[in-house]
C-alpha cells in the first residue's frame, strides 16, 4: 500500500479499508511477550500502533523524524526509533517497550538506576534514554564516560537532566545493568 493515501489529485483513488478486497491480512506483533493482532494499515509507523492500538505509554512521539529518540523500543534487542519503522517491517522480531523492560515493583537495573539517581525532570524523553542505555550496556557492559556520552548523543532531553542521566547510566554499568 502506498504510504501516500492522499494523492492530492482531484477525485483521488478509492482507498483500501479493512475487510475490503486488497486489504492485507492482519499483522501479528509480539510486544512485551504477548502476541497481538493489529488492525492498523501496514504503513503505519510502529509508534502509533503501540500507543493508539495497544495503549502503551512508554514510547512517545517527540519528532517523528528519528532525531530525538523519545519513541525508542527494542526490536529483537536492538534499540530502534519506532516513529520511523512501518509496522509491516517488524515481522517476527519481538518488540520490547519501557513497560516490558521492568515494572515499578521489579524495575530493570537501568530503570532502577534512573530511579535511584532521580534522573529526570518531566520524564517525557526518559523512555529513549532508558531503552537506549539498556541496549548499549547489554553490548558494552563496562563503558567509559566518553563512550556513554557518544552512545547517548542521539537523544534529546529538553529539560536538561543530562548530568543525572549520565550518573544513572554509570551507576547501572557499575551494577551490571
Amino acid at each position: 500500500m502506498s504510504s501516500d493515501p492522499l494523492d492530492g489529485k482531484s477525485g483521488g483513488r478509492v482507498a483500501l479499508a479493512p475487510g475490503l478486497p486488497g486489504w492485507p491480512s492482519p499483522l501479528r506483533l509480539t510486544v512485551n511477550g504477548t502476541a497481538h493482532t493489529v488492525r492498523s494499515s501496514p504503513d503505519t509507523p510502529l509508534l502509533y500502533v503501540l500507543r493508539d492500538e495497544l495503549q502503551l505509554h512508554g514510547p512517545r512521539f517527540g519528532c517523528g523524524l528519528g532525531q530525538c529518540g523519545a519513541c525508542t523500543v527494542h526490536l529483537g534487542g536492538v534499540a530502534v526509533r519506532s516513529c520511523s519503522i512501518p509496522v509491516s517491517a517488524v515481522g517476527d522480531q519481538p518488540v520490547t517497550t519501557l513497560e516490558g523492560l521492568g515494572s515499578p515493583e521489579h524495575p530493570h537495573p537501568v530503570q532502577q538506576a534512573f530511579i535511584e539517581e532521580q534522573a529526570m525532570q518531566c520524564g517525557y524523553c526518559i523512555n529513549g534514554w532508558i531503552m537506549t542505555a539498556a541496549a548499549f550496556l547489554d553490548k558494552t557492559p563496562h563503558p567509559g564516560d566518553a563512550e556513554i556520552r557518544t552512545a547517548l548523543s542521539g537523544l534529546i532531553c529538553r529539560c536538561g537532566a543530562h548530568m543525572r542521566i549520565l550518573r544513572a547510566v554509570r551507576r547501572a554499568a557499575a551494577h551490571g545493568g
Partner: protein, 758 residues
C-alpha cells in the same frame, strides 16, 4: 473555636473522580475514563474559603489535597506532599494531590514565575495546619482530654497521659466534611487562606527540608505514567492542524482529502485549518497531503540579519524606568571616562520535548478539555469565550505534559482541539507535529541591552545606565484568559489583546548614580510563528547577559578581579554570600581577566562569574571553559553555582531543578537561536534548532545550596537559568581576551570574536 459538624461527605468534587488526575505517593496517577458529554452548569470552581476545597480525609485516613497549582516536572507535587504531611503529622506516602482541575481545585492562576512553592504552596500549608487543629478538637472530645494533652503520630491522635487512648484521622473525620470556613487573602497567584491554627515553625520541621524521592519517578521510569499525550476517551478522533505557509497567508482552498480511509474531515474556519480522522496516522497523512492553496504572505518582518538593528532603532512604544538613583546624566557628563557596550539575545523556542497536545470534547452545549496548560482556570475563561459558551459549562482538566517553561503551545493546542471537536461533534485529540511545535510555538522574545558606565579618575564606578528592549506581547499574554489570544483565534481573525511589558532588568549594585529602564518596541504578532510570550525567567536571561557581561568588562577595564569587583559594589549579605560560596567551591584564584599569557592559538582555558538576583532568590554561577581557538568550539569543563532561595523544602528536588536550569541555559548560550526568513521560521526541528546533547554537557556541575529556614521559599524554577550565559561569555573572555556580546556563542561567532580581539 470553630464549630465542626462532621456530616457525611457527599461533596461532588471529592467523590466524583471521573476524568481527574490524582498524583499520589501510594498509587500510580490514573485517568479514570472520560466525562462523556460535558461538564454542565454545576461545575463551579471550588470556594477557597472552605477548608473542604483544599483538603479531604478518607475513611482509611488517606489525605487528598486539591490545588490549582501544577507539576511541570520539577518535583513540585512531592514538595507539596512534604508540606502537607509536615503540618498534619501524617506519613508523606498517605498524601495524594489533585492538581489543576477547574471543577475540583481552587483558582490559583496557574503556575509560572517560580511561584509553585513560594506562593503556590501557602494555602495548602495553612489549610493543612487548620485541618490538624480541627482534628485535635475532634479528638479532644472523643478521647476526653484537652488538646494540649494530645499528640499526633502518623495520622493517629494519642493521649500523652494514656497511650492506649487513640483516634485515627479516618475515625475522626474520614469521608466527611470539615465544614470550616477560612479567611482568604489575595487572589490568583497570591491567594492564601488562614484558619485559627498557627502553622509549624521551621525549627519543628522533620519532613520539610528532607530529600524525599520524587513520587512520580518510578512510574515515569517504567512507562506507567499518564501524560497528556496518553489521554484517550471513548469515541475519540485524532486531529492535526495545518498552519499558513507562508505565515500571514490567507486560506484560499483546501481539498483532496475526501477519499482517505477513516473518513477524514477537513475543518476550516477563516484561516484556521485542521483535519480529523479515525486514526492518528490517517490524520497525520491527511494534514501532510491535503492540497491547500494559500495567498501570498501579508506579514512582514525584518531580515534576520537586521533584527537587532531594527530593535535598537525603532521608536519605543513604552519606556519604564525601574530604578533611578542620583543623577545618572550629570554623573556621566562629569565622569573621567565612560564605557559602553551593547548585547544581543535571540528569539528562543520553548521547543517542548513532547509537542503540544490536548483532548477536547465539545458538544451538547458544554466542553471538557484535557490539557497540559500552565493555567487551567484561565484557559477555561479563554476557551469559553472562543467557543461562545458560559465559563460554567467549560471544564478544564490539567494533565501533566512534557516539561514546559512558560507560555508554550499547550494553550494553543487546546484551542485547536476545542475548535475541531466543536466542528465534528466528537472528542478530538490533537498533538502538534515537531514543525508545528518548534516552528509555531510562542517564542521567547529577543532582547537588546545597552549599558553605559562612568568612571572617576580613581577607577570608581560613578554612573550606570542600563537599558533593555524587547517586543510588545500582542496576542500572547502570560495567561490564556481571553478568547482572542490563541493562535487559532488569530487565524480566525478574532481581536487579540496587546500587552506592553518591558524586559525584566534586575541587578543590585550600589553605584551612586544608576538607572534601569525597560523599553517595548512593536512587533507583528498575530497569527505569526514569531509571536512572543513568556519563556523561563522571561527576558531576564537576555538582560542579565548584558548586565553581567558589562560588569565584567568594567572589571577588566580597571584590571580588577571579577569577584572582588562585584563584591566592592554589593551590600546585600545574601548576594555577597552566594558569590563567596561559589568562588570558594570553584577554587577561584584572584586575578584580572583575561588571564596572563593568553596564547592566540590552540586550546585556551578560563573561568568567569556572573551574579544575579531574581525576585528574592540569589545566585552566582561560575563557568570554566575550554575554547578551541582553531574551531571556535567552546567546551564547558565545569559549572559551579551557589543558590539561595530561602527555606529549602526538598534539597534533592532542588538540586535536580537547578542542574536542569543550568543545562537548559547552557544550551541557550551555546546553541539556540530561532532562524527565520521571508518564508517563515526555518528552524523547525532538532536538526535546524539544535540544542545541547550529551557530548556538549559540562564535565561536571557543582551546586552549593544555601538554606535560609528564616526566610520564606522564594522560587527556584527559573533563577538558575539567568546567569549561565554571562558566566560562559566572561570565561571565554578570560581564556582568550575575546568578548562575546551576541548569543548564542556558536563556533562561527567565537571565531569572529577571536579575530576581532584587541
Amino acid at each position: 473555636m470553630t464549630a465542626v459538624s462532621a456530616h457525611t461527605l457527599s461533596r461532588r468534587h471529592f467523590l466524583k473522580t471521573s476524568g481527574a488526575v490524582v498524583v499520589s505517593f501510594a498509587m500510580p496517577p490514573v485517568i479514570l475514563g472520560s466525562q462523556p458529554g460535558t461538564a454542565g452548569a454545576e461545575e463551579a470552581v471550588p470556594d477557597p474559603a472552605q477548608l473542604d476545597s483544599w483538603l479531604a480525609i478518607g475513611e482509611d485516613g488517606s489525605v487528598t489535597v486539591f490545588t490549582g497549582m501544577l507539576e511541570l516536572g520539577m518535583g513540585v507535587a512531592t514538595a507539596y506532599g512534604q508540606i502537607v504531611a509536615e503540618e498534619l503529622d501524617v506519613p508523606v506516602r498517605s498524601v495524594s494531590i489533585v492538581m489543576g482541575d477547574t471543577a475540583r481545585t481552587p483558582d490559583q492562576a496557574g503556575i509560572g514565575g517560580s511561584r509553585a512553592i513560594s506562593t503556590g504552596a501557602r494555602p495548602l500549608r495553612h489549610a493543612a495546619a487548620e485541618a490538624r487543629r480541627v482534628l485535635l478538637d475532634l479528638a479532644s472530645t472523643r478521647l476526653g482530654a484537652p488538646a494540649d494533652r494530645l499528640t499526633i503520630r502518623d495520622g493517629v491522635v494519642h493521649r500523652t497521659d494514656d497511650t492506649t487512648k487513640t483516634a485515627s484521622f479516618g475515625e475522626l473525620i474520614g469521608g466527611r466534611h470539615f465544614d470550616v470556613t477560612l479567611r482568604t487573602s489575595g487572589e490568583g497567584s497570591t491567594l492564601d487562606v488562614a484558619g485559627s491554627a498557627q502553622p509549624k515553625s521551621p525549627d519543628q520541621y522533620t519532613i520539610v527540608g528532607q530529600p524525599v524521592p520524587r513520587i512520580d519517578i518510578p512510574d515515569k521510569a517504567t512507562g506507567r505514567f499518564t501524560y497528556i499525550v496518553d489521554v484517550r476517551v471513548p469515541d475519540m478522533l485524532h486531529g492535526r492542524v495545518i498552519r499558513p505557509a507562508p505565515p500571514g497567508a490567507r486560506l484560499l482552498a483546501a481539498e483532496g482529502a475526501r477519499v482517505l480511509p477513516g473518513s477524514v474531515k477537513v475543518v476550516r474556519k477563516g484561516n484556521f485549518l485542521g483535519v480529523v480522522a479515525d486514526t492518528e496516522w490517517d490524520a497525520i497523512q491527511a494534514a501532510r497531503n491535503l492540497k491547500v492553496t494559500w495567498s501570498a504572505s501579508e506579514v512582514s518582518w525584518p531580515a534576520m540579519a537586521d533584527l537587532y538593528r531594527t530593535m535598537r532603532t525603532m521608536p519605543a512604544r513604552l519606556r519604564r524606568v525601574m530604578a533611578d538613583v542620583g543623577d545618572v546624566d550629570a554623573a556621566l557628563a562629569q565622569a573621567a571616562r565612560t564605557i559602553e557596550a551593547r548585547y544581543e539575545w535571540p528569539f528562543l523556542s520553548h521547543a517542548m520535548m513532547g509537542p503540544s497536545c490536548a483532548v477536547a470534547d465539545v458538544r451538547d452545549g458544554g466542553a471538557t478539555i484535557w490539557s497540559g496548560t500552565q493555567h487551567p482556570h484561565q484557559l477555561r475563561q479563554g476557551l469559553a469565550e472562543l467557543l461562545n459558551l458560559p465559563p460554567a459549562d467549560v471544564h478544564i482538566i490539567w494533565v501533566e505534559g512534557s516539561g514546559s517553561y512558560g507560555r508554550s503551545g499547550s494553550d494553543d493546542a487546546a484551542a485547536d482541539a476545542a475548535l475541531l471537536s466543536q466542528a465534528v461533534g466528537r472528542p478530538v485529540r490533537v498533538q502538534w507535529m515537531r514543525a508545528d511545535e518548534t516552528g509555531w510555538d510562542p517564542k521567547g522574545p529577543p532582547v537588546v541591552t545597552a549599558v553605559r558606565a562612568g568612571l572617576d579618575d580613581q577607577g570608581n564606578v560613578v554612573a550606570w545606565d542600563y537599558v533593555a528592549r524587547n517586543f510588545t506581547g500582542r496576542g500572547v499574554p502570560p495567561q490564556p484568559a481571553r478568547g482572542g489570544n490563541f493562535l487559532a483565534a488569530h487565524l480566525i481573525g478574532l481581536a487579540a489583546d496587546s500587552i506592553d511589558e518591558p524586559p525584566n532588568l534586575q541587578e543590585a549594585y550600589t553605584f551612586p548614580n544608576k538607572r534601569r529602564a525597560g523599553e517595548v518596541v512593536p512587533w507583528p504578532q498575530e497569527a505569526s510563528p514569531l509571536r512572543t510570550g513568556y519563556l523561563r525567567a522571561p527576558s531576564q536571561p537576555g538582560t542579565t547577559f548584558g548586565a553581567e557581561s558589562f560588569v565584567d568588562e568594567l572589571a577588566a577595564a580597571l584590571r580588577a578581579d571579577p569577584v572582588e569587583f562585584r563584591l566592592r559594589y554589593l551590600q546585600d549579605p545574601r548576594a555577597v554570600a552566594v558569590i563567596q560560596a561559589a568562588a570558594q567551591k570553584a577554587g577561584w584564584a584572584s586575578r584580572p581577566s583575561p588571564r596572563k599569557g593568553v596564547s592566540p592559538s590552540g586550546l585556551a582555558t578560563g573561568r568567569g562569574i556572573a551574579y544575579a538576583p531574581r525576585g528574592d532568590t540569589r545566585l552566582a554561577t561560575i563557568a570554566e571553559v575550554e575554547v578551541n581557538q582553531a574551531t571556535g568550539q567552546v567546551h564547558i569543563s565545569r559549572l559551579v553555582i551557589a543558590h539561595d532561595c530561602g527555606l529549602i523544602v526538598n534539597p534533592d528536588g532542588l538540586r535536580g531543578t537547578i542542574e536542569a536550569n543550568l543545562i537548559q541555559s547552557t544550551s541557550w548560550a551555546l546553541k539556540e537561536e530561532v532562524k527565520f526568513d521571508r518564508s517563515g521560521v526555518t528552524s523547525v526541528d532538532w536538526a535546524t534548532y539544535p540544542i545541547l546533547r550529551t557530548p556538549d554537557a559540562p564535565d561536571a556541575i557543582d551546586i552549593v545550596l544555601i538554606n535560609h529556614p528564616d526566610l520564606p521559599p522564594s522560587g527556584a524554577g527559573e533563577p538558575a537559568a539567568v546567569a549561565t550565559a554571562p558566566a560562559i561569555a566572561n570565561a571565554i573572555f578570560d581564556a582568550t581576551g575575546a568578548r562575546l556580546r551576541t548569543a548564542p556563542f556558536t563556533p562561527a561567532r567565537v571565531k569572529d570574536a577571536l579575530e576581532r580581539r584587541a
